[in-house]
């Protein structure tokens, strides 16, 4: 009797433990950000701070999908795709819009799906860039039927392909024989097709999809929209428009080009909404546009707005909200607050109650400088977040003496000629010093969080750019003379624009380092735990001192064992960082800057860290096509 009881107890325990064991075995990376909450967190704990030094290459794969640019060739590729590990398979999409299904432990290719797109044709007009795929699985799969697990990849001309995750074949029931023409909804000022660079986010049996466009070319370009789609069929269930109806014909974008986050339990989807056109002159859009440069919460089932928080008023700096908000519960003052952390290009971390949009740490409205451009009325105040400490300082960090000396004082002379009154100084015709500019602060990789300790980690760039407005007639004359170097036309606006990095004539930054940092915060208190320069600048092959840090693109991930894995830097190295101290514990050279956020997974009892090393010419001219998995030795 006792024996039988023991047996039953064992069986019961095994039955109870089995799902947990299966989950542990899986330790999937099923979303661009690891999970739909945008946390970039893995429960994997085999690789620890103590043994990470032994990490080595498990396998490496070159997809062949790379363009090195050059005269008459396709522009350099940007491979920013975070691989997925799900369905016991690694999936990765390439800048030529192909999907590779790969064995997770060997790197052997199972199948390849190639989406036909104008971007991978010879003499392609559009850049090949891709940020990944989405994965959906039926809650109650029908045995023997295909497309119960689907992958979605978008193309540069607004076509969303749905592929069976097992076979690599198009799912015929989705859209038109597996391809949904999202561009059919591009009806207002369709100057360019919707570029589906960022994959949709999955909510139950729905996909929520935004799109990217072309900046600073036309003021009247497609106005921002987001679509709720049936995951099985592609049928549109709802759409959300970001620009007030009476302005849509004359003002474009304020689109959602970055990843979104989903709170399935509360039925919410969170949208990082970008800035409207003209990016740098707002005299034609003085009307209130509450969704522009905001984080907006929608009820995911209906697309109705739950709340909105504008992060820049009347944006004149192209400070798009550019990364998926990180959703995490924060224990504070005896309560657990359902929170959201929105990292921004400004370097501010907005920590909000994700159900109401109310700030958990105060947001201060501060007076900011006025515009001196005729027709422009800059907002009198802008939102400021003192806590958590911004990742970027409020003022220009000072002239870098080495660059100034090397350039014969050019940095100092130029700086004296520009307008600089700190954050949110509006663009001007004489040139304005902007820090952080559109490519500065936190980029689309966003931050990562350990939801068990509420430790938040984020990489950030310290960039300085000069923004200059050019009157239309002056620009036309200049363009005739020097061609595209004149700047961005912003057709339809009284002002064109020119923006450039504040460098001396040798290409050296005119401002003091560091150029990039990695920071850690305790979200329970808002306190900065540590901040270190991160990565290394590399110029002509020479590595600059570590104390200078590097501009970064692509985000970090955190593992349960207390490690941060991140590529992101200019120097084509991937690193493991101690979550507790911020010290680099391991680094490894890869083929190009790993500007994609890495993926972490466990398969057959082994933990892997997977980097796509594809490069992005914003950080370095080096591009590549290497997918490389690291693991501990047997």
């Amino acid at each position: 009797m006792k024996n039988r009881f023991s047996q039953r107890a064992c069986l019961l325990a095994a039955a109870l433990l089995w799902p947990a064991a299966a989950r542990a075995e899986g330790q999937d990376w099923s979303d661009f950000n690891g999970n739909a909450m945008g946390q970039k967190y893995s429960t994997a704990s085999q690789i620890t701070p103590a043994n990470v030094k032994n990490l080595g290459v498990a396998w490496s794969l070159h997809t062949g999908d790379v363009s090195y640019g050059g005269a008459g060739k396709m522009p350099k590729t940007q491979w920013q795709s975070t691989p997925l590990f799900v369905n016991n398979t690694v999936y990765v999409s390439t800048p030529f819009f192909r999907i590779f299904a790969i064995e997770p432990d060997t790197g052997k290719v199972k199948w390849i799906y190639a989406a036909k797109t104008m971007s991978n044709e010879p003499n392609a007009k559009f850049r090949g860039r891709n940020r990944g795929m989405a994965y959906w699985a039926a809650a109650n799969p029908v045995a023997g039927q295909s497309c119960q697990k689907m992958l979605y990849i978008g193309t540069v001309e607004g076509q969303l392909h749905a592929i069976d995750a097992d076979s690599g074949q198009l799912c015929q029931g989705f859209g038109n024989h597996g391809i949904l023409n999202v561009n059919q909804w591009n009806t207002i000022n369709p100057k360019f097709p919707f570029e589906l660079n960022q994959p949709p986010v999955v909510y139950k049996d729905m996909l929520v999809l935004g799109w990217a466009g072309i900046d600073s070319l036309w003021q009247a370009s497609p106005p921002g929209s987001v679509f709720g789609l049936d995951a099985r069929t592609g049928t549109k269930r709802w759409d959300f428009q970001t620009i007030p109806e009476n302005m849509r014909n004359k003002i474009g974008t304020a689109n959602v080009w970055a990843a979104m986050s989903v709170d399935v339990a509360n039925g919410m989807v969170y949208l990082p909404v970008s800035s409207p056109e003209n990016n740098f002159y707002g005299g034609d859009r003085l009307q209130d546009m509450p969704y522009a440069t905001s984080v907006t919460a929608l009820h995911a089932d209906t697309g109705q707005v739950a709340w909105v928080r504008q992060l820049v008023h009347h944006d004149l700096w192209d400070l798009d909200t550019n990364s998926a908000p990180t959703l995490v519960n924060i224990p504070k003052d005896g309560k657990t607050i359902p929170a959201l952390v929105q990292a921004t290009k400004q370097g501010f971390l907005f920590v909000l109650n994700r159900l109401t949009g109310e700030p958990i740490y105060p947001i201060v409205e501060k007076p900011v400088p006025k515009s001196n451009v005729p027709g422009e009325i800059a907002s009198a105040t802008q939102p400021w977040v003192p806590t958590p400490a911004p990742t970027v300082g409020d003022r220009f960090p000072g002239i870098f003496k080495v660059a100034d000396w090397a350039g014969g004082g050019q940095c100092s002379r130029d700086y004296a000629s520009y307008r600089d009154e700190g954050r949110f100084t509006p663009p001007s015709t004489g040139g304005t010093v902007v820090m952080p500019p559109t490519a500065g602060g936190v980029e689309w990789g966003g931050g990562a969080v350990d939801p068990t300790t509420q430790t938040y980690v984020v990489n950030s760039s310290n960039l300085v750019r000069i923004y200059q407005l050019i009157a239309r007639n002056e620009f036309n004359a200049l363009e005739k003379k020097i061609g595209p170097a004149a700047g961005s036309p912003n057709f339809g606006s009284p002002y064109a624009s020119r923006t450039f990095n504040f460098f001396n004539q040798w290409g050296m930054p005119c401002w003091n380092p560091p150029y990039g940092t990695l920071s850690s915060y305790d979200l329970k208190t808002g306190k900065l735990l540590w901040r270190h320069p991160f990565g290394q600048v590399q110029q002509w092959g020479f590595y600059m001192p570590e104390s200078w840090g590097s501009v970064t693109i692509g985000g970090p991930v955190i593992t349960k064992s207390g490690l941060i894995f991140i590529g992101a830097s200019m120097d084509s190295r991937v690193r493991a960082v101690d979550l507790r101290t911020g010290n680099v514990l391991w680094k490894h050279l890869v083929a190009a800057p790993a500007v994609a956020t890495p993926a972490v997974y466990t398969y057959k009892g082994r933990q892997y860290v997977l980097f796509a090393a594809g490069g992005n010419n914003l950080v370095s001219p080096r591009v590549g096509d290497q997918l490389v998995a690291f693991t501990l030795p047997n």
Binding site: Q538, W540, G541, F542, Y543, D571, S572, L589, A591
Partner: protein
């Protein structure tokens, strides 16, 4: 050619420049080096080529004004390449320059010894 001891120092320099040239050529063409196709490595290749030529000429001449000038230029080459090796994070290149520096000192010490005699 000069004495065997003096020649030993010169041959150290020649050996180091060949090693530096090989290392930098390998770095230039190998994508996994992290510094491939870079201007910095190209500069080192040129510097190593010049050092090799100068070393051979010094070995042939043995001594004299031209050899003295070339030795001075070799010293500048060693210092510059070692600095480049440091910033290129190439320990092999720095090692090669250490050997070249030893050779240069050997060459100088032999010359000083000869002068004393």
């Amino acid at each position: 050619m000069g004495s065997l001891s003096r020649g030993r120092g010169t041959w150290f320099i020649i050996l180091a420049s060949i090693t530096g040239l090989a290392v930098s050529l390998y770095d230039y063409v190998t994508p996994e080096s992290g510094i491939d196709q870079s201007g910095g490595v190209l500069l080192v290749i040129v510097a190593m080529g010049l050092m090799l030529c100068a070393g051979l000429v010094v070995a042939l001449l043995g001594s004299g004004l031209v050899a003295g000038i070339l030795l001075f230029l070799i010293l500048l080459d060693i210092a510059g390449t070692a600095t480049a090796g440091y910033f290129l994070e190439s320990p092999l290149l720095m090692g090669a320059m250490l050997i070249a520096a030893i050779g240069w000192i050997l060459r100088l010490s032999v010359r000083a010894q000869r002068n004393r005699q």
